[in-house]
C-alpha cells in the first residue's frame, strides 16, 4: 500500500476530535458557557475542517487503511473514496451550521443536561462520519448502531414527557428493524466466504437470486432509516419530539447517510446486476415522495410538516437512485452519471435547506413556545433575521430557480427526458410517466412551502406569544446564515460542484459528465443544444431587472406611500383569527387526495352553545400495517408470558433443562 495521504489522517482525526469534545462536555456539564459557548463552536470548527478536507481531497485517489483496533480476526478497515468523501463533505459543512446554531440554542433546564447532550450530539456526528468511511461490515454496523442509539437519546431529550418516550420508542424500533435488514444483507453478500471486509464483498460472485435478496434487504434496512414508505412512520413522530438542532441533524444528515448506504451497497458492492432493481426503487421513491408531499400539506404542526417534507425529499432521492440503476444496468453510463449527479446534488441541497428550516423552527419555538402553526403568524416583523433566512430555505425546498433545489430537480427531469431511449419496450413508455409524477410532487412542494412560510412568518400574529416574540441570538444567526449562503451558492454555481461530483460517478459508474461541463457559468449536462441552464445569468438578470424597475418607477413617477388599515371588504370586525389556519390552507389538498388519509371529523351542530370543530388526519399505514403486526406481537408475547412464573425455583429448573439440552446437543 502506498504511503497514505496526510489528508487521510486529518479526516480520521475529526471523528476522534468530536468524541473528545463530547467527553469534555461531561466535565462541567451544567455550564452553558463551557458547553454552549466553547464546546459546540469547537465541534462546528471540526466539522468545517472535515468539510474542507473532504472538498480538497474529493479528486484524490482512493485510499484505505487498516486500523490496529477491532476484533481478533477482523481489524477495522477504513477506505476513503470519492463517494465517502462527498458524504463527509456533506456531514462537515452541514454540521458546521448546525453546530454554531446549537451553540446559541441549547440552554440549561430543558431536559437532558447540556453536557450530556453535547456528548450525545458529538458521538452522533462522529458515528455518521465513521459509517461513511467504514470498509468492513463490522465497523459499519458498530458505527450504524452507535448512530441509531445516540440519536435515540437525542430524540428523547425531554424524556419526562410520555409522548416523547413513545416517539423515541417507535424510532428505536424501526431503526433496529432496519439494522436487522442491513445485518442480513451483509450476511448474504459475504457469499459463504466468511470474509466481512467490503473488499471481499466486492469480489464475491453472487447468483442473481442472492444478489437480489441482498439488494432488497439493503433497500429495507436503509429505507427504514431514510423513511421510505411504509417505514416512514417514525419520522413525523421523532422530529417534533427532538430538539430542533437534532431534528436538523437527523433530517439533514442522517437520512442522507441512509442514501449513502444504498449507493454503497448497490453500486459498489453489488455492481448493479438487474435493471428491475432500479424500477422497484424508482416506484417506491415516487410513491414516497407523493405521499410525503400530500401529507405535508395537511399538517398543523410545523415540525411534523417538515418531517413529511423530508419524506418527500427522500422519495425524490430514491427516485434518482432508481433512475441511475436503470440507466447503469442498460449500459447508458452518461445518463446514469446524470441521474447520480442529480441525486447527490439533491442530497446536499436537502441537507442544507432542510437543516435551515428545522433550525428556524427551533428559533420560532424558543421565541414563542409554540409548535402549532395555527397559533403563530406575523413573525417576519418580530424576527426578521429568522424570517428572511427561512425564506431562502423555503424557496430552495420548493425547488424554485435560481436556488439550489431547482438545480437538482432540473437535472432529474433532464434525466427523465432520456428514458424513452431505454432498450426495453414497456419501461421506456412507463418511465416518462414518472416525470409527470415528479412534476406534480415538485408543484405540491411549493404549495406546502407557501403554507409553511405564510402561516408562520406572514400575516398577523394569531396569539399573544407570537406578538411578543424576540429574534434569535447572534450565534444562531450565524448558523442560519451559513446554511442559507450554502443554498444560494449551490443554486448559482452548480457547475464547479458537479465537476467535483464527476469523481464520484467515475468511481461508481465508470462514467462522468466531465466533458459536458465546459463553461463554469453554463450548465449543459448532456449537450449544449439539448439543454442548458445558467443560474448566474438568471440570477443577475433578475436582480438587475428588479433594480431597474424600482429605479424606473421612482424616476418617472414617485415613491409616496400612505399607511392605512387593510381593506376589510366592508366588514368591520376583522381579526387576526380570521386568517387561514394551517388546517384551512391544507383543506383543498385534503379534499383532492382524500383516499390517502384516514380522516375523523366532528362537526359542531348548529345548536351547540360552545361549538367545536375537530379533525384528525391520520396515516392508513398505522391501522392497515402496523396495528395488526403490533397485535400479533402482543399475542405471541402473552403466550410466551406463560413460562414466566416469577418463582426462582422455576427459573432454576429452566436453566437446568437448558444445560441438559445443550449437553445432549454437544455429546
Amino acid at each position: 500500500m502506498a504511503d497514505p495521504n496526510p489528508l487521510l489522517y486529518a479526516t480520521l482525526l475529526v471523528p476522534v476530535a468530536w468524541v473528545a469534545i463530547g467527553l469534555l462536555g461531561l466535565v462541567r456539564g451544567r455550564s452553558v458557557l463551557w458547553v454552549g459557548r466553547t464546546l459546540f463552536p469547537l465541534g462546528a470548527l471540526a466539522g468545517l475542517a472535515l468539510g474542507l478536507v473532504a472538498l480538497a481531497s474529493l479528486g484524490a485517489p482512493t485510499e484505505s487503511l487498516t486500523l490496529p483496533l477491532g476484533l481478533a480476526q477482523l481489524a477495522f478497515h477504513i477506505r476513503l473514496d470519492a463517494l465517502a468523501r462527498f458524504f463527509l463533505l456533506l456531514i462537515g459543512f452541514t454540521s458546521t451550521g448546525i453546530g454554531v446554531f446549537s451553540a446559541g440554542y441549547f440552554r440549561a433546564g430543558e431536559g437532558t443536561a447540556p453536557g450530556l447532550l453535547c456528548l450525545q450530539y458529538h458521538v452522533f456526528l462522529a458515528s455518521m462520519a465513521v459509517v461513511v468511511i467504514a470498509d468492513d461490515a463490522y465497523l459499519f454496523l458498530v458505527a450504524w448502531e452507535t448512530m441509531a442509539l445516540s440519536s435515540y437519546f437525542l430524540v428523547t431529550t425531554q424524556h419526562r414527557l410520555p409522548e416523547i418516550r413513545r416517539a423515541g420508542f417507535i424510532y428505536l424500533l424501526i431503526a433496529h428493524l432496519g439494522a436487522i435488514g442491513i445485518l442480513l444483507c451483509f450476511g448474504v453478500m459475504q457469499a459463504g466466504n466468511w470474509q466481512f471486509t467490503f473488499d471481499a464483498m466486492r469480489a464475491a460472485q453472487l447468483t442473481p437470486v442472492w444478489a437480489s435478496t441482498a439488494f432488497f434487504l439493503a433497500l429495507f434496512g436503509f429505507g427504514a432509516k431514510a423513511g421510505l414508505v411504509p417505514l416512514h412512520v417514525w419520522l413525523p413522530e421523532a422530529h417534533p419530539a427532538a430538539p430542533s438542532p437534532v431534528s436538523a441533524l437527523m433530517s439533514g444528515v442522517m437520512l442522507e447517510i441512509a442514501v449513502y448506504g444504498v449507493l454503497r451497497v448497490t453500486f459498489d458492492l453489488l455492481h448493479v446486476q438487474l435493471w428491475w432493481w432500479g424500477l422497484v426503487t424508482l416506484g417506491l421513491g415516487l410513491f414516497t415522495s407523493l405521499f410525503g408531499a400530500v401529507f405535508a400539506a395537511v399538517q398543523t404542526d410545523m415540525k411534523r410538516l417538515l418531517a413529511y417534507s423530508s419524506i418527500e425529499n427522500i422519495g425524490i432521492l430514491f427516485l434518482g437512485v432508481g433512475l441511475s440503476i436503470i440507466f447503469h444496468a442498460f449500459h447508458m453510463s452518461l445518463l446514469a452519471a446524470l441521474a447520480l449527479a442529480a441525486t447527490l446534488y439533491h442530497c446536499l441541497n436537502h441537507a442544507l435547506s432542510k437543516s435551515l428550516l428545522f433550525l428556524s423552527t427551533g428559533s420560532v419555538l424558543h421565541a414563542t413556545r409554540e409548535r402549532s402553526l395555527g397559533k403563530l403568524g406575523g413573525l417576519i416583523h418580530r424576527m426578521p433575521w429568522v424570517a428572511w433566512l427561512a425564506l431562502v430555505g423555503t424557496l430552495a425546498i420548493a425547488g424554485l430557480p435560481p436556488l439550489n433545489g431547482f438545480v437538482s430537480e432540473w437535472l432529474l427531469l433532464q434525466a427523465f427526458l432520456f428514458t424513452p431511449d431505454l432498450p426495453h419496450s414497456y419501461v421506456n413508455m412507463l418511465l416518462p410517466m414518472g416525470a409527470a409524477a415528479l412534476a406534480l410532487v415538485a408543484a405540491l412542494a411549493a404549495y406546502v412551502m407557501v403554507k409553511f412560510y405564510g402561516v408562520i412568518f406572514l400575516g398577523q400574529p394569531r396569539e399573544r406569544a407570537a406578538r411578543e416574540a424576540q429574534d434569535c441570538g447572534r450565534l444562531e444567526r450565524i448558523g442560519l446564515l451559513w446554511l442559507a449562503a450554502g443554498c444560494v451558492l449551490l443554486g448559482i454555481f452548480p457547475v464547479p460542484l458537479l465537476a467535483l461530483l464527476n469523481n464520484v460517478s467515475r468511481g461508481l459508474l465508470g462514467a462522468s459528465l466531465g466533458t459536458q461541463l465546459q463553461h463554469w457559468w453554463l450548465l449543459t449536462p448532456i449537450a449544449p443544444e439539448r439543454a442548458s441552464y445558467s443560474p448566474v445569468v438568471f440570477m443577475l438578470s433578475t436582480v438587475v431587472l428588479v433594480a431597474a424597475v424600482v429605479l424606473g418607477v421612482r424616476l418617472f413617477y414617485h415613491g409616496r406611500i400612505r399607511k392605512a388599515a387593510p381593506w376589510g371588504c366592508g366588514f368591520p370586525l376583522l381579526t387576526p383569527r380570521m386568517q387561514d389556519t394551517a388546517e384551512g390552507f391544507g383543506q383543498p389538498i385534503r379534499q383532492i387526495f382524500e383516499p390517502f388519509f384516514r380522516i375523523q371529523r366532528a362537526l359542531p351542530s348548529p345548536f351547540d352553545t360552545s361549538p367545536h370543530y375537530r379533525v384528525r388526519v391520520e396515516d392508513h399505514f398505522w391501522y392497515a400495517l402496523y396495528a395488526p403486526i403490533a397485535g400479533l406481537v402482543r399475542r405471541i408475547s402473552s403466550l410466551a408470558g406463560a413460562v414466566q412464573q416469577g418463582r426462582i425455583s422455576v427459573y432454576l429448573l429452566y436453566s437446568f433443562l437448558t444445560l441438559i439440552a445443550l449437553l445432549a446437543f454437544v455429546l
Binding site: 416583523h381 413508455m429 416525470a435 409527470a436 408543484a443 400575516g459 398577523q460 443544444e529 418607477v553 380570521m578
Partner: protein, 316 residues
Amino acid sequence: MNITTLITQLTEVILAVIAAPLLMGWVNQCRSWLQNRRGAGMLQPYRQIRKLFHKDAVIAAHASPLFRLVPYVQFASMCLAAAIIPSLWTGLPFAVAADTIALVGLFATARVFLALAAMDIGTAFGSMGARREMLVGFLAEPALLMVFFTASLISHSTSLPTIVETLAHGRLAIYPSLAFAGVAFLMVLLAENARIPVDNPATHLELTMIHEATVLEYSARHLALIEWSVALKLFNYTCIGLALFLPWGLAAGTHSPGDLLLAIPITGLKLLVAGFGLALIESLNAKLRIFRAPEFLATAFLLAVLGLLVHLLLGS
C-alpha cells in the same frame, strides 16, 4: 453573442412589454363586442396603468417589506419570461440561460411570491386567495411541464427556441401528440391567467375570486406593476401557444432583416385572432365552481400526459 442577436433579443422583450396591455385591451374589447357593449377601447389598459402610477400608494399598516417587493419581482419575472419565449423570432441569446423547465420554474416563482404577498397582510381574503392560487398552480404547473416535455421529446431539446425551430421547420406533419398537448395547454392558459372558466378577471365578488383576492391590498404603482405583469403573463402564454402549435410566420433560424420585420405583423395578426378566440371562449362558458376547478385542471394534466404517451406510442 453578437450585436445583431443582442438587438433582436432586446427588441423582442421591449415589444412584448409594450404590446402586452394592448393584447389585454383587445381581449376586453372583443368581450364587450360579444356582449353587445361598446367597450372602453383597446387602449384602456394603458390609461389604467398610467393613472395608477400617478396615485399615492396606500399600504396596510403592518405590511412587511416582502409585500412591497413582490410587484417588482412579478414584473421582472414576466419580463424575463418574455426574453425566453420566441414570440417573434428564435434568435434569443438569453434563452441559453433558461430552458423550458426553467421557464416553468420562473412562472412558479412568480406565483409563490404573489401567494406570499397575499398572505402578508393577514386578511381572510388574502390568505384565501393565496390558497386558491396555489391550488390552481400546483395542478397547472405539472400540466404545463408535460406539454413542454412532449414538445422536447419531438425536438430532442428543452430549449424553447430550438423546439420552435424544429416544429417550424419540420415537414408539414401533424403530430397527434401535439393535439393533446395543445388542448391541455389551452386549459392551462385559461387557468394560469385567471380566465373563465377557472376564475373571472372581471369579478369583484369576494367569494369567487382567485387572482383578484391575492392582489386585493395593492394600490397605485404596485397595482400598476401587477396589472402590467398580468397582461404580460397573458401575452407570454399566448405567444408560447402560438409558437408551439402554430409556429408559421415566425422568423425561425433566420437572421435576414426582411424575415424578422415580416414576423412582427404576422405575429400581431395571430395575436389578434388568438385574443378574439380567448374572448369567445370566455363569453361562451360560465365560471366553474371553485370545487370543480381541480377537476378541470386534472383533465388538463391527464391530457398532457396522454399527449406524452401518444408520442411514445406513435413515435411522433
